[in-house]
């Protein structure tokens, strides 16, 4: 067994935290783990990508183009930009809440309609699952829990090699004590939302 998750988003969205949770859960499940993270200059509002590979015999911290089993997209444009990481069988979870690049916010560049982003991804694959993670997190109590929603959604993906219980337990060990309740509900709400679509 080998399984690769590519986690894409924008610096500050919690991509690193999500990859840490998935990686630690994979280690607890007894898999080998090889990961690669983006630190440094790109974190200043740039695109970020975390690669998580787990299995009986993984060594490489990077995956080939098209080699992902799952893409965890924290942001619509970043998910769309990284389509070549996927193949026709790759599952793609896409959070629909945009983070505008600074040049878009300032009106120098256009951000596409989210519906157009969805349509563009669907023209390439039939395995897209969308989620409004930030909205769900707000309902759970705070927008900062969007990454917990995303991890809950991953737990609902068919064929994902780590159990829901293990993911949730690892998430709650990772977050600060006072945020446990918030993250617990956010995780459950993300899970339920994805189960209803899966």
């Amino acid at each position: 067994m080998k399984y690769t998750v590519q986690i894409v988003g924008v610096g500050g969205q919690g991509v690193l935290m999500a990859s840490l949770v998935l990686g630690n859960a994979a280690m607890k499940a007894g898999y080998r783990v090889a990961m690669s993270e983006v630190h440094g200059m790109a974190q200043r509002g740039g695109s970020v990508l975390s690669t998580l590979r787990m299995g009986d015999d993984v060594a490489s911290p990077l995956e080939a183009a098209g080699g992902a089993d799952l893409i965890m997209g924290f942001e619509p444009v970043e998910t769309c930009r990284n389509l070549p990481l996927a193949n026709r069988d790759t599952g793609i979870i896409m959070n629909l809440d945009p983070v505008y690049p600074s040049m878009v916010a300032a009106g120098f560049e256009e951000y596409p309609e989210v519906d157009d982003v969805i349509a563009s991804v669907r023209r390439r694959t039939s395995n897209l699952m969308t989620i409004e993670a930030t909205n769900i997190a707000l309902r759970a109590g705070s927008a900062v829990a969007a990454n917990a929603v995303m991890i809950g959604a991953v737990a609902a993906i068919r064929g994902f090699p780590l159990s829901k219980e293990l993911l949730k337990e690892t998430l709650l060990e990772t977050v600060p004590g006072k945020a446990v309740d918030l993250n617990s509900s956010a995780f459950d709400m993300g899970y339920e939302d994805m189960m209803s679509k899966n």
Partner: protein, 605 residues
């Protein structure tokens, strides 16, 4: 489940830089020093937090040269020392390193160079493995976080056996990879020593340097024997095809090439030439897989020539593998004509809609935005050259500022400004940060004074070394590891040099900053403007950021977009012609309010 680097047992999923930090503790390192640089920076942040708990002395030195010198003295005194930096940092530290090789060390010493293939956070992708040949120093290269940790303990034994500092070469995909690491009991640490004088060895006057060079060459012959028997040079698998590889490239070979025998090299200077020759003998073909330059490959070709081995060698010289940018599983695919390479699923085609770019940019509320806006306003139609530097302000290259015309290296903008002032009629403006000023910005200012250059220097003092993750610097003073020092006053340093114009401004006050910049530009000598304002991200981390945000009064806004054109703060959002503030991003700095001609933006506390 945050990393617990001080734990002596169990398994943890560690970032390469965390595993390296753990390796230092397990190896009984008593002294560590650095100047921050990605991809090595997190080692410093880890040590800042826990070196004293591990009984280790750690410091952020003013630059890499000093960092290497203090570590060299520690090792000369019998204390195991560790100096670490990014690849270009070793250029700065190369001067002491080259002669330190002649003197050597008593306690083990590792010089970590973190190379950055693909220049993710760098200005070039130089291959620092050549420094090991240039300086005649042993070198080791780990492939994974787990191997890095284990290798450090071994490398200290090698360094002490050879009485030489050892270059420990990593790359971004080792420093910023994450993997499972098994914690071990540390060896005993010697935190203090005594410097036993040995003048012929430690004083390299010509009469001593000449025999020391001979001694060093003899030590490197001994190092060859160590390399030949090193457990970090090993063979896996069998087949007619032989692959010689090192660093992270080994993981790509291991996972994506089958049916080959692999010689994995961890001790890469000097190379185990006998082991390599024995490995090649009988193979039908040899492939060398390494990132960047053909460092191993050219030596393999020499080993073949010297041993009469007539085997084809594939790699960079044969055109199969690239010399630029980091490798990945797809690059390994280029070997399909000479090796059994795993095929990957066909990737989806790129999206068919236009996507906005997302380059790194100055953050919301970044004080540098104010200083750049003020500078642009003051410059107007003047013919200027923006000499920028290494740090967050490099991002001044982005619109709407476009304020980077020339960048070479740390402190390089200020030096270049002097050259431009002598050879052009354009006014050079050198931007550099507080940490960069201390690192290498002071000598060019003194040189400008000495030689009568006419330049403007803008010191963007945000009270931290921000880009690499908010490390302290001489301007902030030190307050960690049980030691507190006074901040150094930049204005007093500049005044001491004696410049023709000197002013300190608050960059959030864009109007006044622009007036000051105008006066600086009119100065026919050396003008220095200090833009002093703490990085709001650092304040946020320290929980010192006042909770406030800006709001646009739509009844007053005339949609002139001055705020967007001048500041373009990511917290300002333009939608359907209407400008508003994204409160989740806004720091409440009020820069936008300051430039609004209609006073339509207010700061809400």
């Amino acid at each position: 489940m945050m990393a617990d680097i001080l734990s002596n047992e169990g398994k943890q999923l560690l970032l390469g830089n965390e595993a390296i930090t753990r390796g230092l503790i397990e190896a009984g390192v008593g002294f560590a020093s650095t100047y921050p640089g990605t991809p090595s920076s997190e080692i410093g942040n880890n040590l800042e937090a826990l070196a004293d708990k591990a009984g280790m002395y750690f410091e952020f030195s003013v630059n890499e040269k000093v960092a290497l010198e203090v570590s060299a003295a520690a090792a000369a005194s019998g204390v195991r020392s560790f100096v670490f930096m990014k690849h270009v940092g070793l250029n700065v530290a190369a001067d002491p390193m080259m002669t330190l090789a002649y003197s050597g060390v008593r306690g083990g010493m590792l010089i970590l160079t973190a190379d950055d293939p693909s220049a993710h956070s760098s200005q070039n992708e130089q291959d620092n493995r050549y420094f090991s040949q240039l300086g005649l120093l042993p070198m080791m290269e780990p492939s994974t976080p787990a191997e890095a940790k284990e290798m450090i303990r071994y490398a200290y034994e090698v360094s002490e056996k050879l009485t030489l500092p050892l270059i420990f070469r990593t790359t971004t995909r080792v420093n910023h990879a994450r993997g499972i690491v098994t914690m071990r009991e540390p060896v005993g640490m010697v935190p203090r020593g005594r410097f036993e004088k040995d003048t012929p060895r430690f004083v390299n006057i010509p009469a001593h340097a000449r025999p020391n060079r001979v001694r060093l060459l003899a030590l490197m012959e001994e190092a060859k024997a160590v390399s030949e028997s090193s457990p970090y040079n090993f063979i896996e698998g069998s087949g007619e095809t032989g692959i010689i590889t090192s660093g992270v490239a080994y993981t790509y070979v291991k996972e994506f090439v089958s049916g080959a025998s692999v010689l994995k090299l961890g001790f890469t200077n000097p190379l185990p030439e006998r082991k390599i020759a024995d490995f090649i003998r009988g193979k039908k073909r040899i492939i060398v897989v390494e990132e960047l330059d053909p460092f191993l490959e050219d030596q393999v070709l020499r080993v073949c020539a010297q041993n009469g081995l007539d085997v084809p060698v594939f790699g960079k010289r044969s055109g199969h593998l690239p010399r630029a940018w980091e490798y990945n599983p797809d690059v390994i695919g280029r070997l399909s004509s000479v090796a059994d390479v795993m095929e990957h699923p066909v990737p989806l085609a790129p999206a068919d809609i236009l996507l906005p770019g997302r380059p790194p940019a100055l953050c919301a509320g970044c004080p540098h935005r104010g200083m750049y806006a003020a500078t642009k306003k003051a410059v107007g139609g003047r013919d200027v050259i923006y000499c920028s530097d290494i740090g967050c302000y490099t991002l001044g290259i982005q619109a709407p500022f476009n304020a980077a015309d020339y960048i070479i290296c740390m402190g390089g903008g200020a030096g270049a400004a002097g050259g431009f002032s002598e050879t052009t009629d354009q006014k050079p403006i050198a931007f550099l940060g507080d940490s960069t000023f201390f690192h290498s910005g002071i000598p060019p200012l003194i040189s400008a004074k000495f030689n009568g250059h006419r330049i403007v220097m803008v010191i963007l003092d945000n009270r931290t070394t921000a880009m690499t993750g908010h490390q302290p610097n001489p301007g902030t003073g030190r307050d960690f590891g049980g030691r507190k020092t006074e901040p150094l006053d930049i204005e007093a340093v500049v005044r001491g040099i004696g410049v023709d114009y000197l002013e300190t401004v608050d960059p959030y006050d864009v109007k006044r900053s622009a007036e000051v910049m105008k006066a600086a530009l009119e100065c026919d000598g050396i003008a220095v403007v200090i833009s002093k304002c703490p990085c709001p991200l650092e304040l946020k981390k320290l929980k010192q950021l006042e909770a406030k945000h800006c709001r646009v009064d739509q009844s007053k806004c005339v949609r002139c977009y001055t705020c967007l054109r001048m500041i373009a703060c990511p917290a300002l959002v333009k939608e359907d012609g209407r400008v508003s503030v994204d409160e989740t991003q806004c720091m409440g700095c009020g820069m936008c309010a300051n430039v609004c001609p209609k006073r339509a933006i207010e700061v809400i506390r």
